[in-house]
């Protein structure tokens, strides 16, 4: 299975292009803004000290799916989750369950989580992100 991975975090310049790419990922509904983005580059108190890029690491036993009361988040084969938006209540239990804080709240109160589509990796100008085959 292919997954989004970090190749070299030290090269992250904090441009946020990955975040905006994630918003545009659906051909039919490319959004302008960051509401539905499921990836976030943050600094270590200023990018001069380095960065962290936060996104789902595709757990094989996803706690977020386990706490979801409606089945909106379901474990995906090979790791991570599928998100069935119209089942989502916006309870945000999943946000608490994820140790990485890799689930984000959207403008409408529902959530955004990485589906490992790889779209953002082609917009990281500095080779921090890649989309690669990973052993499950």
């Amino acid at each position: 299975m292919k997954q989004l991975v970090v190749k070299d975090i030290e090269k992250c310049v904090g441009c946020g292009l990955c975040m905006y790419a994630c918003s545009r990922k659906f051909v039919k509904r490319p959004e302008i803004g960051n509401s539905s983005s499921a990836i976030l580059a943050v600094s270590l108190s200023g990018f001069e000290r380095g960065a962290t890029v936060i996104f789902c690491r595709a757990c094989t036993e996803p706690p977020c799916a386990q706490v979801c009361p409606t089945g909106a988040l379901k474990p995906k084969r090979g790791g991570g989750v599928v998100y069935i938006e119209n089942l989502c209540l916006g309870c945000k239990y999943c946000m608490d369950a994820c140790t990485l804080n890799a689930i984000f709240e959207r403008e409408d109160g529902k959530i955004a989580v990485c589906i490992h589509c790889g779209y953002c990796s082609s917009y990281c100008p500095h080779g921090v992100l890649a989309y690669e085959e990973v052993e499950a």
């Binding site: 310049v13 441009c15 905006y20 918003s23 545009r24 051909v27 490319p30 803004g33 600094s43 108190s45």
Partner: protein, 579 residues
């Protein structure tokens, strides 16, 4: 497109949101819209440091739709020049304002006590700022707020250091780390309003009118930015790459422009900094270029063996000029320590350097005494300059109180006008290339080299008449009004051609031809000039410091008559345009 304007009143801690599609349709965004908002909200006679001054922050229609639309325009009345103040900054400010749902933010009034503001989810929180007021180091202020406020990765944090609190007329507003609303004293306006910081965060979205075209145009801009040569010079050496070429062209102002060649230019060049100090590069939000160059400086503790600190310092050509060559500082370590000090207090680096350069020459010539300057300022003496920067902040005596008001003012008081290198009251940028550069500083509506890029005209053309130079400058400045209304980074001007801009508008549901764009640029220029005149600008009063005629430039020694003719022509032009 975002057409919401958030109006905040600090006098009674209230706010409201107005939807102004009229403004954004007619005036694009950024500068175009900000001029109108300032006209609506501010009395042109307002005291720049009084309750009546108004700050407008405006973003444009391409933020955050496209890459490189990464800037915010701030308009206010400048406490340095007493006239229109305009300053642009990158960082995360533009995208955060847009993602919070606003096209522009207006800040009026004056708080009774220190506050900082948090804007999120359609609300404004007025937070008690008393605890962080008085902290002189803007970097520390940033860290404290970062620990206290949510929004990592998506927020902008604009704040002032001690210089803004102490109303140094050229104090800046720092945003994120190392980006600034640098020029013309927005920091002092924050200080006068007792506004220590402004934090904005949001996670909003909207949809393009044409989804398929939107992704196509996006990709085109992105590819051009990373693949073409259009922006190469900004990411390799960065603007610091200008040091050596300008020095070779006799254009690098040195020791208060007593020379335009610096014997230690190599030492403080972009090449040397990259080789010895470059520690990291970072980017403004939604910019693939990452032109922000950070130097790592390792400083030993004198009395503690094996104890070091390593600090990261952002450098650019303008800083190398103003705190390096202009002060005769030829050591990289010294230069970086000066930049760091200026950064901590939240001072504008260009004005600070030029003020100190003037003070040094004034002392050498006996225009002021050592009693005034407290320490013996001399070109190249880093330790004393570090002290002097402290004094600009602390203002321990009459002299530093005057120096903190800029050199136009200080030279009114003490003399030494001929070598007070300010244009329209704003300390000079770092290009002594020829007529167009100096005429550009004078005629540019924010007295910045970026208004009309005279330095570039000087390098491209010879044998032009004074009238032609002024026409060229005005026409470039008109076009740049379009860029600063969009608001795209000026470094991306090679990418955002009128053709591309027109095509990029289409998926957003806006039809505008290249011709119309050009016309809008001219109209915005006219509106801005009119506002400036209403605020008291009189082109007849423009002063050209004698010094610029004494020192060889790329165009040899400059002739006063040429400048005089150009000035007269410009005065005529202003009358024509303003009517």
């Amino acid at each position: 497109m975002r057409d919401a304007v958030l109006v905040i009143d600090l006098s009674n801690y209230s706010y409201e949101v107005e939807h102004r599609p009229d403004l954004f349709e007619k005036w694009i965004g950024g500068t175009g819209v900000a001029v109108q908002l300032l006209k609506e909200h501010m009395n042109p006679e307002a005291d720049p440091l009084g309750e009546d001054n108004v700050i407008v922050f405006a973003t444009g229609p391409f933020t955050p739709a496209y890459p490189l639309a990464s800037k915010t325009v701030a308009l206010f009345k400048s406490p340095l020049t007493g006239n229109l103040g305009e300053s642009h900054a990158g960082g995360r400010t533009a995208t955060s304002i847009a993602n919070a749902g606003y096209g522009a933010i207006v800040i009026k009034g004056q708080s009774k006590k220190p506050v900082y503001l948090v804007v999120e989810n359609g609300e404004v929180h007025f937070r008690d700022g008393r605890v962080i007021w008085g902290i002189p180091d803007s970097l520390i202020v940033g860290r404290i707020i970062a620990e206290n406020e949510p929004g990592r990765g998506i927020r902008t944090m604009m704040r002032i250091g001690g210089a803004g609190e102490k109303l140094v007329r050229y104090a800046c507003v720092t945003t994120e780390t190392y980006r600034h609303f640098g020029r013309l004293g927005l920091g002092a306006v924050f200080g006068s309003k007792r506004l220590k910081a402004l934090i904005i965060r949001g996670r909003k979205k909207y949809l393009p009118a044409n989804t398929k075209k939107f992704r196509e145009v996006y990709d085109e801009i992105y590819r051009t930015a990373i693949e073409s040569d259009a922006m190469k010079k900004y990411h390799l050496l960065g603007t610091a790459g200008n040091v050596i070429p300008l020095n070779e062209l006799n254009s690098l102002p040195t020791k208060n422009l007593q020379s335009a060649k610096f014997e230690s230019a190599e030492e403080i060049s972009g090449e040397a900094l990259a080789e010895h100090n470059l520690g990291r590069r970072i980017a403004c939000s939604h910019c693939p270029i990452a032109c922000i160059h950070l130097a790592a400086l390792r400083i030993p503790y004198e009395n503690e063996p094996y104890f070091y600190k390593t600090i990261m310092i952002s450098y650019d050509y303008e800083l190398i000029y103003s705190l390096g060559s202009m002060l005769g500082v030829g050591s990289r370590d010294g230069l970086l320590r000066l930049i760091h000090r200026v950064e901590s207090y939240g001072l504008d680096a260009m004005s600070t350097g030029v003020c100190l350069a003037w003070a040094t020459e004034a002392l050498l010539r006996g225009v002021v005494s050592e009693e005034d300057t407290i320490i013996k300022l001399s070109f190249g003496n880093v330790e004393n300059y570090l002290k002097a920067i402290d004094y600009i902040y602390e203002q321990p005596n009459e002299f530093y109180r005057h120096l903190a008001m800029g050199i136009e003012h200080a030279s009114d008081v003490y003399g030494g006008k001929d070598f007070a290198l300010a244009f329209g009251g704003n300390e000079m940028p770092g290009y002594h290339t020829g007529y167009a550069a100096h005429l550009g500083y004078a005629t540019g509506l924010r007295h910045s080299h970026l208004d009309s890029a005279g330095y570039s005209i000087d390098q491209k053309v010879r044998d032009v008449t004074p009238e032609e130079v002024v026409d060229k400058l005005i026409s470039e400045e008109c076009w740049r009004q379009v860029l600063s209304s969009l608001v795209v980074c000026f470094f991306a001007r090679g990418i955002y051609t009128s053709d591309l801009i027109s095509r990029a508008f289409e998926p957003l549901g806006v039809e505008i031809s290249e011709e119309e764009l050009k016309k809008k640029g001219e109209e915005i220029y006219k509106e801005k000039l009119k506002l400036k005149v209403e605020m008291g600008f009189n082109p007849e009063n423009l002063r050209f410091p004698k010094r610029i005629f004494e020192i060889e430039s790329l165009h040899g020694k400059l002739d006063e008559r040429f400048i005089e003719e150009a000035k007269n022509y410009y005065i005529k032009k202003v009358r024509e345009i303003v009517g």
